[in-house]
Symmetry: none
Subunit: 225 residues, 2 copies
C-alpha cells in the first residue's frame, strides 16, 4: 500500500514537499475544493497536510470538505503560524494534528510517522475487506470500488461470510448451516439464488468475485494456489 498525501495549497510549501520526498511519501498538491476529485488517487488519500498560513478560510473549507465525505480523510495535519493558534480552537473537529511554523524538518517527519502509526492501530471500525470490497460490520454497509452496495440482510451475511474466508470453497450445505444457521432442510437452490442476486448487485465487472466451483460450491476470489 502506497501512502499518498494531499497537500494544500498548490504550489506546495517547499519545506513540506522536500521532507515528504526525503521520507519517500507520495503527495499531490491541490489549490481548491474542486480539484479534490480529479487529483484523488485510486486508493484514496492517506492523509492531508494543510497549510493555513496564507489563506486560512479556503484551507478550513477544504478540511471541512475532506471530513464531510463518505470516507472521511482522517489524518489531517495543519500548519499554522504562531499568531493563528487561537483560531484553531474554533475548528477542533477539522483536524487531528497541527504544527507551528517555522518547524524542524524532523518535526514534520515525526508527526507524519506518528499520525500513520495511530491510523494503523487506532480504534478503527471493524472491517472485512477483500480487494476493493469493504464490509463495515458496524454500519452494515458494503462498498465496492468506493461505491456503496445496497444489500439485503441475507445478501450481506452471505457476502460477509465468504469475504471472511477468501478463496476457501464452501458447499451449499456448509453455507446454509453457517450463514443461515439451520440444518440443510431442502433448498440448496436457495444459495444459488442468493449468489445470483449478489453477483448482479456487484455489477458485471465484479460478478466474478464470487466463483462457482463445479460440484463443490462457491468461493470468493481466487485464493492461492
Amino acid at each position: 500500500m502506497t501512502e499518498s498525501f494531499l497537500v494544500f495549497p498548490d504550489p506546495a510549501p517547499p519545506d513540506i514537499v522536500r521532507q515528504l520526498d526525503f521520507d519517500g511519501y507520495q503527495w499531490r498538491a491541490v489549490s481548491s475544493v474542486e480539484q479534490l476529485v480529479e487529483a484523488e488517487p485510486e486508493e484514496g488519500w492517506t492523509g492531508a497536510i494543510v497549510d493555513i498560513t496564507d489563506n486560512s478560510e479556503k484551507a478550513w473549507a477544504l478540511c471541512r470538505e475532506l471530513r464531510r465525505r463518505d470516507v472521511p480523510v482522517e489524518p489531517l495535519l495543519i500548519l499554522a503560524s504562531g499568531s493563528q493558534l487561537d483560531e484553531l480552537a474554533e475548528f477542533d473537529e477539522l483536524f487531528d494534528e497541527f504544527m507551528v511554523t517555522p518547524f524542524h524538518s524532523k518535526e514534520l517527519e515525526a508527526r507524519v510517522r506518528h499520525l500513520l502509526w495511530k491510523a494503523g492501530r487506532g480504534a478503527r471500525p471493524e472491517l472485512v475487506t477483500y480487494g476493493d470490497l469493504v464490509l463495515n460490520l458496524e454500519t452494515y454497509q458494503a462498498v465496492l470500488d468506493g461505491r456503496p452496495l445496497d444489500l439485503t440482510y441475507m445478501e450481506y451475511e452471505l457476502l460477509r461470510f465468504l469475504a471472511a474466508h477468501p478463496g476457501k470453497v464452501f458447499s451449499r450445505e456448509a453455507l446454509l448451516s453457517q450463514v443461515w444457521g439451520y440444518e440443510y432442510y431442502g433448498g440448496a437452490r436457495t444459495v444459488d439464488v442468493h449468489v445470483r442476486r449478489l453477483r448482479s448487485k456487484l455489477g458485471e465487472e465484479h460478478a466474478s468475485l464470487i466463483q462457482t466451483v463445479r460440484s463443490v460450491g462457491y468461493k470468493l476470489g481466487q485464493g492461492r494456489w
Copy 2:
C-alpha cells in the same frame, strides 16, 4: 468535572505550569513512578504532560507505567528538544501528542485543548452533533436545521445515543439495555414505537436520519468509515 494533569518531572518546568495555571487546569508534579499512586486524584488523571528533555529514560518508564494501568492514562503529551525527535520513533505507542521545545505558550494551550477535545470531554458545553442535528447535553435541547425539537426524555435519550455513534447499527436489545438500562423484558416493539415518534418529530424531510436495517436494528445516518 475538574481537569487534573500529571506533570513530569518534579519540580515542573515553569513555562508549563505557568500556562496550565493561566488556563485554569489543575496539575500535580511527580518525579518518579513510585509517586504515581499517592499523587493521583480521586477521579484519576485527565492526562499527562511529560518532559523528556532532561531524563528521557525515566520519562519513558513513567509513560509506560501510565499506559500499563487498568484504565490507561490516555492523553499523553510529550516535550522534546529538537535533537530528541528521532528518539520518538521508538515509542510511538507511549504518547498521543508531542511538542518541541522551545514552544509558544499558545501552542501548549492549543494542544491541551485539542487533546481534551479528542478525548471527548472538552471544557465547552457538551454537544453531540450529526449534520444539521445538534444535541446540547447541558440544556437537554435538540435542534434540527436551527429549529428546536420538542422531545420527551426518552426520545432525547434515544436520539442522543444514536447520534453519539453515528452510522453504527444497534439491535433493539442493545438499545433497550443501553438506553433504557434494563434487560430485555418483553417489548422489543417499544424501540420501534419510539423511533416512529422520533421520526415524526424530525419531520418528513429528516425522517430518514434514523435508518432501519432490516433484521438487525436501527442506526443514525449513513455513518463514517
